[in-house]
């Protein structure tokens, strides 16, 4: 639709810095303190949050307005937040306070809600449907509830059908629902929605002079019992390595021998389909 006469929009993107998914094997858990051991694993913007940021940038290209990033995290996240600025965000608001550590999704949503309220007016909030790391997919819906706005989840397509009305595809397992809503609202997005742009050199240069504001809980009038572990309704009480339920029988020798032994075993156990009745559907 014709966008030139429509009002500009203030979009907030919730972004989380996470350990690089490809380096997950290097992360270990301290069972005693129930915290992640601080290994030097590189951090990235959570993949679906990149899709959220991309969607925000496209909306700004069409409608004008602002793209601000809101994030709660530890100081190690700063590099990824600068990356968001380099990708095109106008400003970052970063809640970095030790009191926020150990937060469950409700405590996280509470902290982000305070951060976003502090940022002033907004029309639309975008976030990834779930983060890599934690991956509950709960924060978006809870944040919307705490801010008193509507939400649409698993959005694979978003467009404006009127100045302040969105139409979206909200993914289901076997298709999608067509959902409309009035701004302000929150949309959590899935990978399908767009292909995120990469950083450009002019973008990286411009990022240096864009504001990255670090705030504490005190700045946001957040009490200690509202955030972090103290503000969480759920808590982790134990971490353990699961017992292996299977007797791993290693089939050794030359590959040909191992394969023969395997197929013989599978036939013996009736785990293979009968010849000629291959069920189809493989792809």
């Amino acid at each position: 639709m014709e966008s030139t006469n429509l009002r500009a929009l203030d979009v907030v993107v919730c972004l989380k810095s996470v350990p690089d998914p490809r380096c997950v094997g290097a992360i270990t858990f301290d069972a005693r303190t129930l915290t992640v051991k601080k290994e030097a694993v590189p951090r990235v913007i959570s993949p679906l949050d990149k899709n959220a940021l991309e969607e925000a940038l496209r909306i700004r290209e069409q409608r004008g307005g602002s793209v601000r990033v809101a994030s709660m995290g530890s100081p190690g996240a700063a590099g990824n937040l600068r990356e968001a600025l380099a990708l095109g965000a106008d400003e970052v608001l970063f809640l970095s306070d030790a009191a926020c550590a150990g937060a469950d999704t409700l405590a996280t949503a509470r902290a982000l809600a305070a951060l976003i309220r502090h940022a002033g007016r907004f029309d639309l909030i975008l976030c990834g449907a779930r983060s890599f790391y934690g991956s509950t997919g709960q924060v978006g819906s809870q944040l919307a509830e705490l801010l008193g706005i509507a939400h649409i989840s698993h959005v694979s397509h978003l467009e404006f059908i009127a100045e302040a009305t969105v139409s979206s595809k909200s993914r289901r397992e076997n298709g999608y629902a067509l959902v409309e809503g009035q701004l302000p609202l929150l949309a959590s997005v899935v990978k399908e929605i767009n292909n995120p742009r990469g950083m450009s050199l002019p973008g990286i240069v411009a990022a240096r002079s864009k504001p990255l504001r670090s705030l504490s809980c005190a700045d946001l009038d957040l009490a200690a019992d509202e955030v972090g572990l103290a503000g969480s309704a759920t808590r982790m009480i134990r971490v353990f390595a699961p017992l292996a339920a299977r007797q791993g029988q290693m089939l050794g020798g030359a590959p040909q021998d191992a394969v023969l032994a395997l197929v013989a075993e599978l036939r013996r156990r009736g785990a293979l389909p009968m010849l000629g009745t291959g069920a189809g559907g493989a792809r």
């Binding site: 509507a150 289901r172 629902a177 809503g181 029988q249 290693m250 023969l260 559907g281």
Partner: protein
């Protein structure tokens, strides 16, 4: 419409009962609701509490009998045109209103696209705790719910508790629990009238579009062949698919190949993906991170092929072959085709 300023606190004895959302889509009950009902029945036995199913929709009353036969002592039936399609405002207002009146100690939902949106919405409105994607549930000595789920991309399981807030909420993936057999048992159906809040929704569902995805859903496949980060490119995946074809198997895998486009999202097996229970599961070039292994822990026979003898996948497999898949898989294909 802002969240009500409530803080339901835990008082022993006040919050009683296990509730399960009996999710339905376009008039059909989803299996996951029946599976969780089966587990809830077991927990209820230990808690000496009742199990109630929440059935929301339009024209769904006939399903109440099935829910009772599968373990529900009570079905709260909210049948109204306004509930025909899932809408977070409508569904959560019905559930929250019921929860504040009847005070269940536990509320469980399937971790489906709907459950993953509805559960956090309800949990936020009730200011209570919610654990996602639990792979097991248990009770502690004080009869509090223990929610067990894999932790942070790691190799361990975490046990979580919601000590103070009620209801204790959790989502559980399809395929984790088993349905209970049908039986003749008593149960009551409680019709629920919906209030204005369920009709004044801030978003509107204009329609549902069903898409037929190619191939069979992985959850129904009797045999699944899966590839991981160890599979090299187009040629490697061609080999995986050829093996699957020979076996009449579904194809799945882990996150890295999905991120690179070799697999769709519904082919990713694991905590953030699908849970499967095939008769035979063959995983190739997969290291065995628990994020993935929880996705097939109840498979019949598990075979692992990996060139790293120390890969943790071998600890959760019935049979393991250490070798290069580019050598092993063609031999396997050949042997399987031998009459």
């Amino acid at each position: 419409m802002s969240a009500p300023d409530l803080a339901p606190e835990y008082s022993p004895g006040v919050w009683r009962g296990l509730w399960v959302l009996a999710e339905q889509r376009q008039g059909q009950l989803l299996e996951v609701g029946l599976e969780i009902l089966g587990e809830a029945r077991k927990l209820a036995g230990r808690l000496n509490a009742e199990v109630s199913a929440l059935l929301l929709g339009h024209g769904v009353a006939a399903h109440a009998a099935e829910l009772i036969a599968r373990g529900a002592d009570r079905v709260y039936l909210a049948d109204d045109p306004a509930l025909e399609h899932y809408n977070p405002d409508a569904y959560s207002s019905v559930i929250v209103d019921l929860a504040l009146v009847h005070r269940p100690q536990i509320l469980l939902l399937g971790a489906t696209s709907v459950g993953r949106d509805l559960a956090p919405t309800v949990a936020a409105r009730l200011h209570t705790g919610l654990c996602a994607d639990c792979t097991a549930l248990d009770l502690d000595e004080e009869h509090r719910l223990l929610q067990i789920a894999p932790v942070l991309g790691g190799k361990e399981l975490a046990i979580m508790l919601c000590p103070l807030r009620r209801p204790q909420m959790a989502t559980v993936r399809p395929g984790v629990f088993a349905k209970r057999h049908r039986e003749e048992r008593p149960g009551e159906v409680v019709p629920v009238a919906i209030g204005p809040a369920a009709r004044q929704t801030r978003t509107a569902v204009r329609g549902m579009v069903t898409e037929q995805l190619p191939g069979r859903a992985l959850e129904q496949a009797e045999i699944v062949v899966a590839g991981g980060a160890g599979i090299d490119g187009v040629e490697g995946w061609r080999l995986i698919r050829r093996l699957a074809e020979v076996l009449g198997a579904g194809v799945g895998g882990t996150r890295p190949p999905m991120d690179e486009g070799y697999l769709r999202e519904d082919q990713m097996i694991g905590q953030s993906g699908v849970t499967i229970r095939p008769k035979l599961y063959i995983c190739i070039g997969i290291s065995g991170d628990i994020q993935h292994t929880v996705g097939f822990q109840d498979a019949g026979v598990v075979v692992a092929i990996n060139k790293d003898p120390k890969a943790s996948i071998f600890k959760v497999a019935d049979y393991g072959i250490v070798g290069d898949y580019r050598e092993v898989v063609p031999l396997l294909i050949e042997e399987l085709q031998r009459p």
